[in-house]
């Protein structure tokens, strides 16, 4: 299929919307455009001065600056990890911008009305309107019943992060009434220092790993959530990350605290323009769940994966960890990973509280030359803790997909249980799937179960679908969606549909 790229000449009189629509259908990565906007950059490279500059730009107090500098010094002595099954050229950390902010954001807009329309357009184009509006819930979920009408409309509060800064957060007032704090992390550092001081770095310590340490030094923005005791957050919270500027790393930091008995569901989406040169993304997400609290964290990661020959794309090195600190707390990670050239990511749970629960549902789809090394760590410390891992890896083209997981039962984690299921699906014969489970059990009352399967999209299934009238791509999408269903079902409804389409887009051109 011929695709219209950004430079294709368009005949006069052709409606821009039509052109966009055609691009969307024809293009392989539909979020690959960039926003033409004036940016403020910090000078290239990383030094103590840059760290100070970022801190100053964010108007941070001294303690935060010191925290960053401490991280920076530690980072200097750390080495990039090499154990992951990913292969990429050496990253020149001095050839990056660590801070990029739209010029119009110099004065922080007081409300969404003051935000540069170009920025609002960017998010509208991504399907994330930053107006305080209802999100139509009439989308068809991953379920089987078409047309079963869903009742009413639902609200989703959105925080939008553009390169290094948060553009705006919707539904502030309504959340405030419920006592929920949802704002950018830079606002939180200024407005809620006691919470930030107490929890920042308490789950992912500054010196945790190379990328987390880098992030601690240079993180520019991200989201902050605090749900007070006994409060059920009245709406889904969502952050939408967009990398736009060239040669710029994105280092966001997310901190979510669910106090005793609180509940919150949080969604995260990511896209980036299509570029020949790879870009770095190194985020840290920390979740703290106190007694009886529950946090659901869902990610639809669709960073630019590079082109068919493996040129360009995002290097995604992310540290995500939840601390189920309180008894009976529960954290659920759900991720759909279709983008990025290289993914290195292990959302984990530390099951510290007795009877706490951790769940991890993941679909990682790799096509062309993408590489994903992803999985989870479930560290059982408390008694009667439970964890469940469902991981589905799908590889096509020449991609490599690795599940790497650790299940660890400590001596005190009596009567704990883990169930792990890792399935891999191969499309074509030049791709690879790998499963690397680590299991440590240090008590004799706990139980760990592990299941792993690898299968190929079956010729019989393909023929059956095609005999019923579906073309090859439709058939693969259907079969793969079926394979991924357990995970898709764990997603909030708004994302399930998007994720299903992503699965289809990501595998486009992988058959035949």
């Amino acid at each position: 299929m011929a695709t219209l790229d950004q430079t294709t000449e368009v005949k006069e009189g052709v409606d821009q919307e039509t052109v966009d629509a055609v691009r969307e259908v024809g293009g392989k990565y539909k979020y690959g455009w960039e926003t033409d906007i004036e940016m403020d950059y910090a000078p290239k490279g990383l030094t103590e001065d840059i760290v100070r500059l970022i801190s100053t730009k964010n108007e941070e107090p001294q303690w935060m600056t010191d925290w960053r500098l401490e991280a920076y010094r530690r980072w200097l002595s750390k080495k990039e990890p090499e154990w992951a099954m990913v292969d990429y050229p050496q990253i020149d950390f001095q050839d990056q911008y660590y801070y990029a902010r739209p010029k119009s954001m110099e004065q922080k807009p007081k409300s969404l009305d003051d935000v540069d329309p170009k920025l609002l357009d960017t998010y509208a184009k991504l399907g994330i309107p930053l107006k305080e509006q209802m999100i139509l819930a009439g989308v068809e979920g991953a379920g089987d019943t078409p047309a079963e009408a869903r009742d009413g409309e639902r609200k989703v509060a959105v925080d939008a992060v553009f390169d290094s800064v948060s553009v705006g957060t919707t539904f502030q007032k309504e959340l405030k009434n419920a006592g929920v704090i949802f704002c950018s992390i830079s606002d939180a550092i200024r407005d809620h220092p006691e919470l930030v001081k107490k929890y920042l770095g308490s789950v992912v310590p500054v010196s945790d790993n190379f990328y987390a340490t880098l992030n601690s030094a240079v993180f520019s923005d991200g989201s902050f959530v605090y749900v007070p005791p006994g409060v059920r957050c009245p709406m889904e919270l969502s952050t939408y990350f967009r990398i736009n500027a060239e040669n710029t790393g994105q280092f966001e930091r997310t901190l979510i605290i669910a106090d005793k008995g609180a509940y919150v569901s949080y969604l995260e989406g990511c896209t980036a323009p299509q570029r020949d040169k790879s870009q770095l993304h190194a985020a840290v997400v920390e979740i703290i769940a106190l007694e009886d609290a529950e946090v659901k964290y869902s990610t639809v990661q669709n960073w630019y994966p590079g082109d068919e020959d493996g040129k360009g794309g995002i290097y995604n090195f992310v540290t995500k960890r939840a601390d189920c600190r309180g008894d009976r707390s529960k954290v659920m990670w759900t991720q759909v990973e279709t983008g990025s050239a290289v993914t290195w990511k292990y959302p984990s749970c530390i099951l510290r509280g007795d009877d706490s629960q951790g769940e991890f549902y993941s679909i990682a789809i790799t096509n062309h030359h993408q590489q994903a090394d992803t999985g989870t760590k479930m560290v059982h410390l408390g008694r009667n803790t439970r964890s469940r891992i469902v991981s589905k890896g799908i590889s096509a083209g020449q991609a490599q997909n690795t599940y790497r997981g650790l299940v660890s039962m400590h001596p005190k984690a009596k009567n704990s249980r883990n169930f792990t299921q890792c399935d891999s699906l191969l499309i074509g014969d030049r791709c690879g799937a790998h499963t690397v489970p680590y299991i440590e059990v240090k008590n004799n009352s706990s139980r760990v179960e592990h299941e792993a399967t690898t299968s190929k999209v079956d010729d019989e299934q393909m023929f059956y679908c095609r005999q019923r009238g579906m073309d090859e791509e439709e058939a693969v999408a259907l079969i793969v969606n079926g394979f991924a269903k357990e995970v898709l079902q764990a997603l909030p409804m708004e994302f399930a549909m998007e994720a299903q389409q992503l699965v289809a887009i990501s595998l486009e051109g992988s058959v035949g």
């Binding site: 068809e140 379920g143 089987d144 019943t145 078409p146 047309a147 079956d458 010729d459 019989e460 299934q461 023929f463 059956y464 679908c465 095609r466 005999q467 019923r468 009238g469 579906m470 073309d471 090859e472 439709e474 259907l478 079969i479 969606n481 079926g482 394979f483 991924a484 269903k485 357990e486």
Partner: protein, 251 residues
């Protein structure tokens, strides 16, 4: 409607001739049955007509309403109205039966330049058709053929056929693995679709299905050829005397 002329087919992987000059013509609105011993090439014929990989046509032609079938992709053959009820319906884990059918129906509609059927319309239609085949709501929701009994799988094939409304239906050993009650349900489903200019090619090893689906023409296939054709009485002859007599008669 379906015209097969001098069809010669061999396996792709090994040099083995399976069909050795099949001639067959199914007129619109008629039911033809093909009977024959195991290994005579009946199922191969159904696979070649529907475009499954693994076969090479060395000679001959097959057309449906003038379209050269052998030149089309499997989904294109489906779109012009060819349907194969599989001998062994395939399981697709995680894909709801209804989702599968809706995707298929809309794919065919799209290929024919029709608008997609909306969810409400689709739901209404499938509920009605499912009821006739005694397929309950639960079976519509379950993943395609996963954990279905033999009878359920075959009824499901007929449901798909009823939803897709093909012009030419090939039933490959639809009676295999069915008890008498299930066979009657399947046959009723097929009979309800008869007429309306629709052609049927019923492939079966035994005569018993033909008690329920009365054929207009019966063909006997042996060693890659159709060796004898006749009326429904030919099926009864097979039932009584087996294939031996007929085969030695034509040899």
């Amino acid at each position: 409607m379906l015209e097969i002329k001098g069809l010669n087919v061999k396996l792709e992987e090994e040099d083995k001739q399976i069909l050795k000059g099949v001639d067959l013509s199914v007129e619109a609105g008629t039911v033809h049955a093909i009977m024959g011993p195991n290994g005579s090439g009946k199922s191969t014929l159904s696979y070649v007509l529907s475009g499954r990989d693994g076969y090479v046509v060395t000679e001959g032609s097959a057309t449906l309403e003038g379209h050269d079938l052998l030149d089309l992709e499997p989904e294109e053959r489906a779109a012009i109205g060819l349907f194969l009820a599989f001998q062994y319906p395939v399981e697709i884990p995680g894909v709801g039966n209804m989702t599968f059918l809706r995707t298929a129906v809309n794919a065919q509609r799209k290929a024919r330049g029709l608008e997609e059927m909306n969810a409400t319309e689709f739901l209404k239609l499938i509920r009605q058709k499912a009821k006739e085949l005694q397929i309950d709501a639960d079976m519509l929701k379950r993943p395609v053929n996963v954990g279905f009994s033999g009878g359920e799988k075959k009824r499901n094939e007929i449901l798909q056929m009823a939803m897709l409304e093909p012009k030419m239906c090939i039933l490959d050993e639809t009676d295999s693995g069915l008890d008498v009650d299930a066979m009657k349900l399947v046959a009723d489903g097929v009979n309800a679709l008869r007429g309306a200019g629709r052609g049927f090619l019923v492939i079966t090893h035994y005569q018993r299905l033909l008690n329920h689906i009365q054929p207009d023409v019966v063909h006997i296939m042996s060693d890659g050829r159709i060796v004898k054709s006749g009326g429904p009485e030919l099926a009864l002859e097979v039932e009584e005397n087996g294939y031996g007599d007929i085969l030695s008669e034509v040899a």
